[in-house]
Amino acid sequence: MEKISRYIMIFIAVITLAIFIPKLYWTVFEKPIRKPIMHYSCISKQFMINRGEKEWTDAKGNQCSRDEYERMLPMMFTKQLLASGTLPDSINGTALDMRAVSREKSFFRLKVNEVDAPAPRLYPLFESRSGRAQLELPEDFFRITWRVDFIDAATNQILEEKSQMFSAALFHNGFSFPAKLISGLPTQRKSCDEGYLIVDSKEQLFHLKMIKGKPLVKKVDIPDGLNFRYIGCVDFKNKDFYAYLVSGKNEIYILTQDDYKLIKWPVDRYDPATCDLKIYGDLFNYTVIIEAEDHIKANALSPDYQLVDTFTESWKTKEQLQEGKIFASIFPAQLSMKSDNSKFVRFYFTPSKGTNWLLFNMLLLVLHFAWLYVRKAKLKNHWVDMGIVAVSGIYGVIAIHLFQNKFFD
């Protein structure tokens, strides 16, 4: 049993070392990777790129100054251009009405770690037409399991009448309980309340609102075979659409307000599990920026959602840079409890690419063997230790010396 106890401690030590040594390594050696920032210029009709703090170019790589860059992007730098007096009166024949500029400006962002994250299962359903200037947080929260339950927060009791009323409303619109996905803006900080978009267990899409205490349910027509893996509701001044949706096939859709039309945007496929998404909207364009670990893809759309331009750039990830290559030659893998791509805590195991680390492990094995030989140790007692070194490399070497192999039987 002593031997088993030792191997367990070695295992624990290897896990601990596999977390902390790489962490230490990256803290010392990691260099920041400058990812380019790009926006579509409604003036020069191409993408303008800002790399780092000193480099501004156009899509063809022509350098320009910061001032020129900002002048090419009046919708992004409206305030700055107004202040320096360089904002044009009109662009592309359209006079610049500040109110219109402000109304059309929108920004939506979806980070990878927001997609793979614990989701709340209770939501506040706001009164959409309270008649009050400010939205008020309701007294109850709802959940959708086998029916809709409204639970009063102060008493933790189910409000039967309201629950039955809303459950019936959903049921009569063809809702199939339980809900698979509930998406909305559960905050008072929005201009008005548009309720929630809900996906039921049969991948049907519903819109739920509360108007003067009564449920308003609208079933959205979806073409066969289409389902959604993520819905991001928005509160934009132009009130063009309710939400951005990401389909099961990683396509980006919008759902228009009032007539519930699902429109697919002609942009690159986007996987919310591995890429960050940013969508900038302004008077002249929508810009969809999809950022992966090693590349960025930008798509520019016209106001009627036609694709007008794209741009792609890639760079080396930290694993592909020198520090990363050295890392992959020394360490067989890295363990981490957290990940940039998720809010969940897991045992994130990242094996090193290539096989250089295996060579290094063999070197360590040879050294260990020599060390045993010098001490005239009985090799048959050390086979498992050598196996540990061969597999876990430097972590194993440290662990087997921390918990010494000194047995007397």
């Binding site: 049993m1 002593e2 088993i4 106890s5 030792r6 367990i8 401690m9 295992f11 624990i12 030590a13 896990i15 601990t16 977390i19 902390f20 994250a117 614990p118 709340p120 299962r121 209770l122 939501y123 506040p124 947080l137 309701p138 007294e139 109850d140 929260f141 959940r143 339950d149 639970i151 009063d152 927060a153 102060a154 008493t155 933790n156 559960p186 905050t187 409890m337 957290k338 809010k343 969940f344 805590v345 897991r346 045992f347 921390l402 918990f403 000194k406 007397f408």
Partner: protein, 222 residues
């Protein structure tokens, strides 16, 4: 014979485990008194809202309570055994090799388990008064790694206290301390869901760690 070992361990730790359990209960009581106060002053809907959407955890005070319990019980159980090498008395008892020691471990871990069950039961019971099952379940998922850390701390502290060599005692403390951070990664409510089963396995594995130190103690390691 196990009753005798349990009896001896009880004599050693009884005031500490009872005192600790009472302190833990007081802590939980305090959490709920504060919660009740918040319900009255800010309103139930605001309390729920901050918990659901702003990541507020009304129980965060409890975070290191299980860890403290594990350390306290391990020290009160095993430190007296190392003074003048009294552990020799346990090894001389007519029990199979490690049984004496494992019985001691079982008692310590069992006492912690009872304390944690009391804490968990009270917490769950009171929470269900104020919150629906969804919020309570998420809270339990969040608290579970803290409880597991209490056991892990107990097992690792036993290993450290019994280790005869000073240098290795220090090194094992270091390894143990770093390892325990795995249970406390900064994360939101219910984020530990996927990791909890792995943590459970690791914690159970650690339960016989002490056998290694005890063996070194027995073989006269300096």
């Amino acid at each position: 014979m196990w009753e005798s070992v349990f009896y001896k361990e009880w004599l050693k730790i009884r005031w500490f485990i009872v005192g600790y359990t009472l302190l833990g209960i007081l802590c939980i009581g305090y959490l709920f008194l504060t919660l009740k106060h918040n319900f009255a002053f800010t309103g139930g809907k605001n309390v729920w809202n901050t918990m659901l959407f702003q990541g507020h955890q009304f129980y965060s005070l409890f975070k290191y309570v299980p860890l403290a319990g594990g350390l306290v019980i391990a020290i009160t159980q095993y430190l007296p055994e190392t003074i003048n090498k009294r552990l020799k008395l346990t090894f001389h008892l007519p029990l199979a090799e490690n049984n004496g020691l494992l019985l001691m471990q079982a008692f310590g871990a069992g006492s912690l388990l009872i304390a944690f069950l009391i804490f968990g039961g009270l917490f769950t019971g009171f929470s269900l008064i104020y919150f629906p099952i969804e919020i309570v379940a998420d809270a339990i998922i969040t608290i579970l790694p803290w409880l597991l850390a209490g056991f892990a701390a107990y097992f690792m502290a036993a290993l450290v206290v019994l280790e005869p060599n000073r240098v290795f005692r220090f090194l094992y403390s270091l390894v143990g301390g770093c390892f325990l951070t795995i249970y406390f990664a900064s994360a939101g409510t219910a984020a530990y869901g996927p990791a909890n089963s792995g943590l459970f396995v690791l914690t159970v594995l650690l339960s016989i760690a002490v056998v290694f130190s005890a063996y070194r103690f027995r073989k006269g390691e300096m």
